[in-house]
Amino acid sequence: MLRFDRRLLQNVDWPLVAAAFFIIGLSVLSLWSLAPVRGGAALAWRQLSWVGVGVVALLVVVSVDYRNLVRAAPAFYVAGIALLLTVFVLGRTVSGARRWIHLGPLSVQPSELFKLIFVLTLAWAITSWRAPSPSRGAVLGMLALMGVPFLLVVRQPDLGTALVLIPVAVAIFVGAGVRMRVLGTLALAGVSALPLFWHVLKPYQRDRLLVYLDPFRDPLGTAYNVIQAKIAIGSGQLLGKGPSGATQSRLAFLPERHTDFIFAVFAEMWGFIGCLVLIVAYSLLVLRGFEIAASTREPRGRILALGVTAVFAAQTLINLGMVTGLLPIVGIPLPLMSYGGSSMVVSLMGLGLLLSIRMRQFH
């Protein structure tokens, strides 16, 4: 099975790899610069070891033909649902949410992994119908398929991951050629379900949404993060303060600064110029991903590439939008930047999928 074709190596998408590892480098650097407080050096080393694990996972993903993975999607799906359910039983509660499962010294976040399973499952479902474009029934079927894990993730609660899944699903539907009328109906249904959705939310999640509408509603409670992040980013100005001058980040004014808000740390240290470079790197990553999707003829491959790229793009845009105050705060890591094993490993596995599809494009 691990019969490795030499020709595969000729089709490695190096710009994609370069962009991803450039971002990972910046991540480690940013964590390192938090060193004077709260063991930044230790964070950087642990992040590096997660990168190591992620690279192994990436190589494993690359060596497997992605078509086999799509075929195995139902099995992944069932396993994924099982994992999400175990969170409710065995999960560890961190700041009001049960998102993690303990495996010895490690904590695994199943919802992270489920993003890839979600994409695999959709790719499997769409390609299984083999119709020119999915019918209304097919779309509803897929929605039902996706609805179960979606609700499980929301109830954890991991609103961030849940919110990423929506644009990913939309992107896949659009790519698969679902008719605009169908998508419009879905959107309408979604909007009309919003009040219902509001009731499902936990009080702190409601607060976050309200604060998004009015940041100074509660400047030291929920809005504190938004304000402090804005101050951190803005005070970086054009050229940044450098690692030693980044007081917002180093002095713990910034909450969650090594995980979800790491971009604010980066922005404070490197300013607009640094942000420009980072965003160009992310854009490049996304562009390459979409390019792989566009140029792939194999249906499973291109849906998969589209989905994985959509996960990257959605997660990056939502995280950056939230940190810069454009979107409400939802707990969501910045792919390849934020500290955290599950996110890093899953991101690198996603990268592996893209590389794998690229390498097998011209068979």
Binding site: G177, I233, G234, Q248, A267, C275, V286, A293, A294, L320
Partner: protein
């Protein structure tokens, strides 16, 4: 299994559209970043500065006042002050209520303190000084619940005793609203409000320093960014002798009045006390409003410095001036004699001697020694009011002495020919008789009497009383120094000075009215006085003010001691013993110390 080309083309278009959406997202983000970092950057940068930097004033330790031999008269010790940082008081009402309950401060006091400063000030506003260690512990324990509440450590005045040299040193208190208007002070500054603390405030205050501290979001100091050391206040060397000051104060316990101890050779003030005194240390902490009112309204006026601000009739002490005037002008001679039967009749009036039955035959010297009024009634008439008042002025009465303390009163010398319309019949012979024994419209301060006595002791030099020798900055440079200054000269012939000194020696040592001031081994010279209280309201008490003005040793005067006891009764009985205690400390205990030094 490749899809047909048209399907492929459609797919590419759809992916391209999605790409465009994603790229639009990134461009939007860049726009937001441009807004935050380039357009709003300056403002947010400023906010981040405020976010992390806390400015903490570091109060300069107030300069120390030393006595003439280098003993401190006051000192500083660290004290805890409750301060509020208005900007960091998130939920103001809750936090203030918590503090109020925690350390039992009226909520009103906290609110009032904040009303005086802008609500976004980052400068700590001092609310209450002198917190107990217990209160500090309570506040520190709940620190996280009390954002914006800090405990500062400030140097605070400590005094040897609560009332030590209260009028001389003066009290230090937080700047008042009126004083704020002068624009020289910052709110919360501790400034000298009376005495030397006030006169020397500019020197003593020093300059406050400050700390810029980086704090994290919980207000915990992370790093000291910059510390500007405070300039400590300058050290002041006074002319005061702490031991003598203490003795004088102890001797005055239970009496109202004043003691001035002066060196007649240079005008240095060795001790200056006014009784009753006020508790200095209560002012540095938190003087409650009613406690302050109690001090102000106290009928014994403890805040008044009686040595400089109270005016009394000099009584028989003034006989020295009358004698000097007569002897120098030739209207009196030492040989003048009179018979005193206890009464003096003039124009239908009878003036009494203080001694029932009189002193019998007296001459000028014995009249001074016995303080015979009848002799001086006649002497006064011989000398004449014009000469008496001229010499009174020459001896420095009727004008402030220029002592280094504010608020001095000039006393009063009556004028001979006041405008008739306003002041009744004008100067009468009876006025002359009265003024001859230091009564009537003649008022002096104890400081003026001390200066007069110094002139008698030193042969006519009127010194400007000196309290401050020098002021040294913390770096050792001299900020101010003063040498002795003559304020005037009383021109009498040496024979007259010698006569006066000889007579005053007799007052103490030859069974005169000042015998109670006598000490073995040292010749004390002095004059007693018993002044009628001019305040009619006090007449019911029937008590006169007791004076004793003296110097010693009589043959080589080194020190002048003036004692005034309000409503004390007879000068010889009340004031002279107090002077004796001072002399004992000055001469006998000093001698003992010297002997001790010799042994070792």
């Amino acid at each position: 299994v490749s899809p047909p080309p048209d399907r492929r083309e459609a797919w590419r278009r759809r992916v391209l559209a999605l790409t465009a959406v994603a790229m639009a997202g990134f461009v939007g983000l860049l726009g937001q970043l441009w807004y935050l970092q380039a357009l709003e950057g300056g403002r947010l940068q400023e906010m981040s500065e405020r976010n992390r930097i806390r400015i903490r004033p570091v109060a300069a330790p107030r300069g120390i006042l030393f006595d003439r031999s280098g003993l401190p008269l006051v000192d500083n010790r660290p004290a805890f002050t409750l301060s509020l940082i208005p900007r960091e008081l998130e939920d103001r009402d809750t936090v203030l209520a918590r503090v109020s309950v925690l350390i039992k401060i009226p909520l009103r006091e906290l609110q009032e303190a904040l009303e005086r400063v802008p609500p976004d000030s980052i400068r700590p506003q001092r609310v209450r000084r002198g917190l107990s260690l217990e209160d500090v512990t309570k506040l520190e324990e709940r620190k996280l619940d009390l954002p914006g509440v800090i405990v500062e450590v400030e140097p605070q005045r400590v005094y040897p005793t609560s009332t030590f040299a209260a009028h001389l040193l003066g009290y230090v208190r937080e700047v008042s609203d009126d004083q704020m208007k002068q624009g020289r002070y910052r709110r919360g500054d501790m400034i000298g409000q009376s005495g030397l603390e006030r006169v020397l405030d500019e020197y003593l205050r020093g300059r406050d320093g400050g700390e810029r501290i980086e704090v994290d979001a919980l207000g915990r100091p992370v790093q000291l960014m910059q510390r500007e050391e405070p300039d400590p206040g300058a050290q002041v060397v006074t002319t005061v002798d702490r031991r003598i000051q203490e003795v004088a104060e102890r001797a005055m316990v239970g009496h109202a009045g004043a003691v001035v101890v002066m060196d007649p050779r240079d005008g240095d003030i060795l001790a200056l006390t006014s009784s009753p005194a006020f508790p200095l240390d209560r002012f540095t902490g938190n003087l409650e409003r009613d406690e302050w009112l109690r001090l102000v309204r106290d009928p014994m006026t403890p805040l008044m410095n009686r040595a400089l601000q109270s005016q009394y009739a000099p009584g028989s002490v003034f006989k020295v001036v009358v004698a000097a005037a007569g002897l120098q002008d030739g209207s009196l001679t030492p040989m003048d004699r009179a018979y005193c039967n206890g009464q003096f009749h003039m124009g239908g009036w009878t003036f009494k001697d203080w001694k029932e039955g009189g002193h019998g035959h007296v001459d000028l010297r014995s009249a001074l020694i016995q303080s015979c009024n009848v002799f001086f009634y006649q002497a006064g008439l011989k000398v004449g009011p014009e000469a008496i008042l001229r010499y009174a002025r020459a001896f420095g009465f009727g004008a402030p002495t220029g002592a280094d303390l504010g608020g001095e009163r000039p006393g009063l010398i009556p004028t001979l020919s006041p405008p008739r319309a306003r002041h009744g019949p004008g100067w009468q012979a009876g006025d002359t008789v009265n003024i001859s024994i230091g009564q009537g419209r003649l008022l002096v301060t104890p400081m003026q009497v001390a200066r007069m006595m110094s002139a008698v002791a030193n042969g006519g030099v009127l010194w400007k009383p000196r309290l401050i020798q020098r002021v040294e900055r913390a770096d050792g440079t001299l900020a101010y120094s003063s040498s002795s200054k003559m304020a005037g000269q009383v021109d009498l012939s040496p024979a007259v000075w010698a006569f006066l000194r000889h007579a005053l020696t007799g007052v103490v040592n030859e069974g005169g009215t000042g015998a109670a001031a006598r000490i073995p081994g040292v010749l004390v010279a002095g004059k007693t006085g018993t002044a009628q209280s001019i305040a009619k309201s006090d007449a019911s008490k029937g008590q006169d003010h007791a004076w004793f003005a003296s110097f010693a040793p009589a043959d080589d005067p080194q020190v002048v001691v003036v004692v005034l006891v309000e409503r004390g009764g007879k000068g010889g009985q009340v004031a002279a013993p107090i002077a004796r205690q001072v002399y004992q400390a000055l001469f006998l205990e000093k001698v003992a110390m010297v002997v001790l030094d010799g042994d070792s």
